[in-house]
């Protein structure tokens, strides 16, 4: 398994490397519009990120939003100038220059050559070190050499080689701490790469390593050099931090593969501690707020939503919630004002506001590198749930009133309602003539009788068939294994004049 994983990631990484960055792999969609109704502040947004993720996000924005392409490329070029990735630098400049109406940016040839040379010499140096250590057979040194090479390749955006060396270093790990370190490095890399499908493998490995750590500390002879009684609480806090990171990765992976419910529960249990050193480097707190809340609104039942987010139920006294400790996710909720508003509107059943907010910030969501492919589906899911929730207490309701509550045109709402009925989510029927939605009154007793009758008949019929089948098998009257004889059925059947018969 260990051997096959890097192979798989390699091929994915190589595929996207050609173009420089992975956001190119996205299917081109309708260009995202940024205007007063759909605000997006590029400067404020990108200032929350540093390093490679900032570049990746800028390139994603440039890719999906033509109106922001020029400033995004320009910023990316500036950031890349500080990096060690000359190829990406040149590619980005070329893309920037190919935009119509953009100022021409002259690539800094000297810098490119310098970095190229520097990269080459660093690489040679590290590889020589690795060779030396390998011949000396010092495990720990070999591990560190692999790790350093992995870091180096990651810095120069050679993801496949970075992954190769990180995974290689695992063979030379002597303690679980080292394995954990390796897993976290790989996870950072995978998150950067948006390689969601592989994340869970390394989370699994990391958790196993994490579990093994206390066991080693308990043993006196192990690598527990610093484990003393007083440090135990600190260790467990450390442990919690790592666990939070793993939880984040797992939630992100679930989001990546469209498992929104798992993503929602994952994000909502994240605490603030532990992720600090990933903020900016991989993700911003406001991102987590948006991911978590969107997934939660789309999948979790309302009661779970209220308790997870530590909100007071509308109507209940405000004092009671203050006494209990706020859940961990509350921190993220405060990071982004509109997310908070979204949750409040949803919990208070102001669905019109919910939909308006979702629409207003749709650009913000689509421009997010992780959320982008899921925005459409999540929005639809939230809207559908809202419609279902809204109708629940009614026996019948006029469609135009409902449309008013959602701020949607009546005919569009009717279509949605019909689709939801057909999907079995709303138990009701539409009075298309008077434009009324009526709940179905289901007689449970009759339904039960009908079901019992149906099941009984089905069982009798299938038992008859099974019995006959047993008899046939007991008598060995089975269609035989192929022989030279024809397998086309008997001549008897060819003569059956079905067509004339079955007009």
């Amino acid at each position: 398994m260990v051997a096959s994983d890097p192979m798989a990631t390699d091929s994915i990484a190589e595929g996207s490397q050609e173009a420089g960055w992975r956001s190119q792999a996205r299917k081109s969609r309708d260009p995202v519009i940024v205007d007063d109704a759909h605000p997006f502040d590029l400067d404020a947004y990108i200032s929350s990120y540093t390093g490679r993720t900032a570049v990746a996000r800028l390139l994603h924005i440039a890719n999906v939003c033509p109106s922001l392409a020029q400033p995004a490329y320009a910023r990316a070029v500036r950031l890349l100038r500080e990096s060690r990735e000359p190829n990406t630098y040149l590619n980005t400049i070329a893309q920037h220059n190919s935009l119509s109406g953009a100022d021409h940016i002259e690539p800094d040839k000297k810098w490119v050559d310098d970095i190229h040379n520097q990269n080459l010499s660093d690489k040679n140096k590290l590889e020589v070190e690795l060779k030396a250590y390998s011949s000396n057979m010092i495990k720990e040194s070999i591990r560190m050499a692999h790790r350093d090479l992995g870091d180096f390749y990651r810095m120069t955006s050679d993801n496949s080689n970075a992954l190769k060396h990180y995974t290689k270093s695992r063979e030379f790990c002597t303690t679980s701490q080292h394995v954990l370190e390796m897993c976290l490095s790989v996870l950072e890399l995978l998150v950067e790469q948006q390689n969601y499908s592989h994340i869970s493998t390394y989370i699994f490995k990391a958790e196993a390593a994490l579990d093994a750590i206390p066991a080693q500390q308990a043993a006196p002879q192990g690598a527990a050099t610093t484990a003393t009684q007083s440090q135990a609480p600190k260790k467990s806090a450390e442990r919690e931090k790592v666990q939070t990171k793993l939880d984040f990765c797992s939630a992100l992976a679930a989001l990546g593969v469209s498992n929104y419910e798992k993503a929602a529960t994952g994000f909502l249990k994240l605490g603030y501690k532990g992720l600090e050193d990933w903020f900016g480097k991989l993700v911003a707190p406001s991102d987590i707020a948006a991911y978590g809340v969107l997934c939660a609104l789309a999948t979790l039942p309302r009661s779970a939503l209220v308790s997870r987010l530590g909100l007071s139920q509308p109507g209940s006294s405000k004092g009671s919630s203050a006494t209990s400790e706020p859940p961990p996710f509350a921190y993220y909720l405060e990071q982004e004002q509109y997310v908070r508003e979204l949750v409040d509107a949803y919990v208070n059943s102001k669905f019109k506001t919910v939909l308006e907010l979702l629409d207003r910030f749709s650009s913000r969501h689509i421009l997010d590198i992780n959320l982008s492919p899921h925005v459409q589906e999540l929005t639809t899911m939230i809207r559908d749930r809202a419609i279902v929730l809204y109708f629940q207490p009614f026996a019948s309701i006029r469609l135009d009133r409902m449309a008013l509550a959602f701020g949607l045109p009546a005919d569009q709402l009717e279509k949605m309602v019909v689709a939801l009925i057909q999907a079995g989510q709303i138990k009701g029927r539409v009075d298309s003539q008077n434009k009324i939605l009526r709940a179905k009154d289901l007689d449970q007793r009759v339904a039960m009788f009908t079901r019992a009758e149906k099941v009984g008949k089905a069982i009798q019929s299938s038992n008859h068939k099974l019995l006959l089948r047993i008899r046939l098998m007991q008598n060995d009257l089975q269609v035989p294994k192929p022989s030279l004889k024809d397998n086309k059925g008997s001549s008897l059947l060819g003569a059956v004049p079905t067509q004339m018969v079955l007009e």
Partner: protein, 438 residues
């Protein structure tokens, strides 16, 4: 005593040993085993005295010799046999003696069918064959080699209703040796029966029969009959349910794979789309449908497509105007929609009212559960449960089962459980438990 001429046959039949059927049967078997063709020629010839042996023998007493001679004549030179003789034999022959020579009964049945076909009226074969089907098996639940021949004759002559009394008797007993059965017998019988019932528009029963064909046990690749049955089954399910149901778990996997790439699968997938889309698919693969002789079923499914679309609407709407229905099901003319909706209401397919302005109001389907109806259902279930218990006991008494059970007790290993699953034993236990849960 060996049989060398027809005179020997007659003296055997009329002699002292003549009443010992087993003895006679063995003598004939020995004769046929020695030289089948020669025996048939000898049997279909004339006796030394020039007298017709069939005139000497009585069909109800000397059934076996009569059967051998008659079947031999039909096989070699059918014109010498008059219809009255055949009819008389089939009506009066002794069933116990017939069961001693099942292969000759098969031969006879084939002979009857062929002779009638050659004479140009397959219809005449139905009478004798029906007598044979009724009299040959010990119980009506037994399958015999005559069954497929009889039903096929009915289908071929379009006298479908004549087959009904036989078809309504479910086959549950299979005895390979007494009734000369091969795997073709079961496949052909159920296939022909399915077609027969489909022609009578008794689609639900047809579905059962075709499903048996489709899910017949198989060691090798599936047969063409099974594939054809699956195609017809899919079309029939479209007609009665508006969609296809999954085939039983134990259906040959290859069948499903072949079906998936056939035009039938394409047709079922879009069904019940607006008729225009369906017609497109049908026209594209018209050749396949017509060469498979399924055009009739396809047409019926096509006709019913808008009805299924309307049925779907009833689950979603309370009231709907006729033009809206027309739009949803793909019929433009309002008058046509009105006729269709009316006919559906009349047939009880939907429970609705149609107002003068053209608004259809769908009502909840009426539910009719009477005490008597439920009692009948329960009684049905109980009889069925008894049947299963009896079967279960029989299985536990059976040699195979006991052998395996003993071996298992001696430490035979866990494979036995798998084996039990294969015979369907454990699933039957579950079925009984289900029934008891009512």
């Amino acid at each position: 005593m060996s049989l060398n001429s027809l005179d020997d046959v007659i003296s055997l039949a009329t002699g002292a040993q003549g009443s010992n059927s087993t003895h006679v049967a063995n003598a004939f078997k020995a004769l046929v085993r020695k030289d089948k063709d020669g025996a048939d020629i000898m049997l279909s010839g004339a006796s030394g005295s020039g007298q017709d042996p069939l005139a000497i023998l009585a069909p109800n007493i000397h059934t076996l010799p009569y059967l051998y001679i008659l079947s031999a004549r039909l096989a070699t030179n059918a014109t010498t046999v008059t219809h009255a003789v055949v009819e008389n034999f089939c009506r009066t022959a002794d069933p116990i003696q017939l069961r001693l020579a099942p292969d000759r009964v098969t031969l006879l049945a084939h002979g009857i069918s062929r002779a009638a076909d050659q004479a140009g009226s397959i219809r005449t074969a139905i009478g004798p064959l029906r007598d044979l089907v009724r009299r040959f098996p010990a119980t009506p639940a037994h399958l015999t080699s005559v069954h497929p021949i009889f039903v096929h004759a009915c289908v071929k002559s379009h006298y479908f209703t004549l087959a009904l009394p036989v078809l309504q008797q479910a086959i549950t007993e299979i005895d390979k040796n007494t009734y000369d059965l091969t795997y073709h017998t079961s496949l052909n019988y159920h296939y022909s029966a399915g077609i027969c019932l489909a022609a009578l528009k008794r689609f639900r029963e047809a579905e059962e029969f075709l499903e048996i064909v489709v899910s017949s046990p198989s060691q090798g690749p599936p047969t063409a009959v099974q594939l054809d049955a699956l195609n017809k089954l899919a079309l029939i399910q479209l007609i009665i349910y508006g969609k296809t149901n999954p085939t039983p778990k134990y259906t040959h996997a290859t069948l499903g794979r072949i079906f998936k790439v056939s035009p039938y699968s394409a047709f079922t997938k879009v069904y019940p789309a607006p008729t225009s889309a369906l017609v497109g698919i049908v026209e594209k693969d018209l050749k396949t449908f017509s060469s498979d002789n399924n055009l009739g079923l396809v047409k019926q499914a096509l006709q019913r497509a808008p009805r299924w679309a309307v049925r779907k609407l009833t689950e979603t709407y309370v009231t709907l105007a006729l033009p809206e229905i027309g739009k949803a099901v793909g019929i433009e003319s309002e008058a046509e929609v009105r006729t269709m909706v009316l006919s559906m209401i009349e047939a009880g397919e939907i429970n609705a009212t149609l107002s003068a302005e053209g608004t259809v109001t769908f009502l909840d389907p009426p539910t009719s559960f009477t005490k008597e109806g439920i009692d009948a259902l329960l009684e049905d279930a109980q009889t069925h449960a008894m049947l299963l218990v009896e079967f279960d006991r029989e299985l536990e008494r059976s040699r195979d089962f006991l052998q395996k059970a003993v071996r298992d007790r001696e430490g035979g290993g866990p494979w036995m459980m798998e084996d039990m699953d294969m015979t369907g034993h454990s699933s039957l236990r579950e079925a009984i438990w289900d029934e008891g849960d009512f």
